[in-house]
Amino acid sequence: MQKAIRATAILLVVGLLFALIIYNSMNPPKPETKVWEKGMTLGDANSAEHVFYDYTDIMCPYCDKFAIAMDKHLDDFKKEYVEDKKVFYELRLTNLLAGFHPNEEGLVANSTNSALAGYCASDQGNFWGWYGWILDKMNEDFFSKGIGDSATAKQKIPKLEVKYFTGVGEEVSGINEARLTECVEKKETASKLSQNTQKSAKIISGGLPYYVFNSYVAPGFDGNWEVDHDWENARVMFDAGIASKKK
């Protein structure tokens, strides 16, 4: 009898845990609809029929799987979703990983400096150019070699110099390298980054990346670093987002 009561109690606790997960995923906090950073958006917020917020951190491996696939198919995304389906997309860049892993000195510095550089590039007017450039660079230097901050990576990314994130040379039009470096070193965009990261922390409930596409909300991105495969997975998510629009 006692054992049966114990087993029932255990089953109840297990059931409650899963109910908590499901309740949490069904009732996500509502994101702020005001644009956070104009330079990190695609489409027109005023005439949009669909709204897609993508919470990310440049040092987050699964965010970058999605971001690299997006970058390689950016023209397809702009044509099919932004223009035809009137999607407004905003990348909400954070340094949340610095807070998630406070004891990993390298990750804290990289997460913060990469995000600062992102906001600085946005201030210079070509965030998307810089973003594509840094994603390619990180993929070539780390992810393609199995180096990264994911649970299965062979090796962690070491602490990188500020120059790693700002050394664009002539590769990205409209970005002045010296000015970008100065902006990151002087932490000119720190308050913007800190503000947006704090707001993100209140929204996300399942780790990064975190997607809010109309009323479709999903943490995590399932991909395998094969751009076209990842793009197909991303498209399934976009379709789920568009289908979730309440009429």
Partner: protein, 211 residues
Amino acid sequence: MVFRKIGKRVKYFATTALDRAKFSLVSIGFLLKRPAYLLSFLVALFVFLYLLSFFKDGMSNWSLLCSNLPFGSKLNILGQVALKILNNFTDLYGVLIIFMSILQALTVMLLIFTWKSRKKDQAIDGASTGSIGAVFGFVALGCPTCGLSLLTPILTAIAGTGAVAAAEGISRILIILAFILLIYTVIKLGYTSFIAISTNKYKEKKHAKSN
């Protein structure tokens, strides 16, 4: 003197545990030779492999299934998860998933046998410990800060986003606990099954002799 006593106890415990593990392996081997139990093991293995592969990506598959996607797309997602079972053989987490699924399937098979052998108390005991191990496994696998673990939504629901910082440490502890509990359950149920099998064999022999 005290150390000698402790040493003796540890030695006794280790020997008993090892013996029980050996006996449970014998009973597992015996049951796997029976088609009905082999089938229950294989079905349970597939179910656990499927579920663990489904939740390996945290809530992303679940979110897609709950979305307004057409039925065909949802079926496609479910099919993709079945294919992911094969991908498990290529990475470390996949191997953990396979090993955990084998332990869970063995637990189910042994539970069926002990329940049928009228050892319901032991079966309930095994079911309780085994289910805690299984839940720990489900919750902890994946990358907690990457949105690829069920642990993060639980932690954030209880303690807010700040708790994500602790998620990786907790997930490692839970995975270890899951394996310990599942191995303990398999050994315990396996040993009970061994006794039941031996008793049955003895009874059969006695019955044959008396005839």
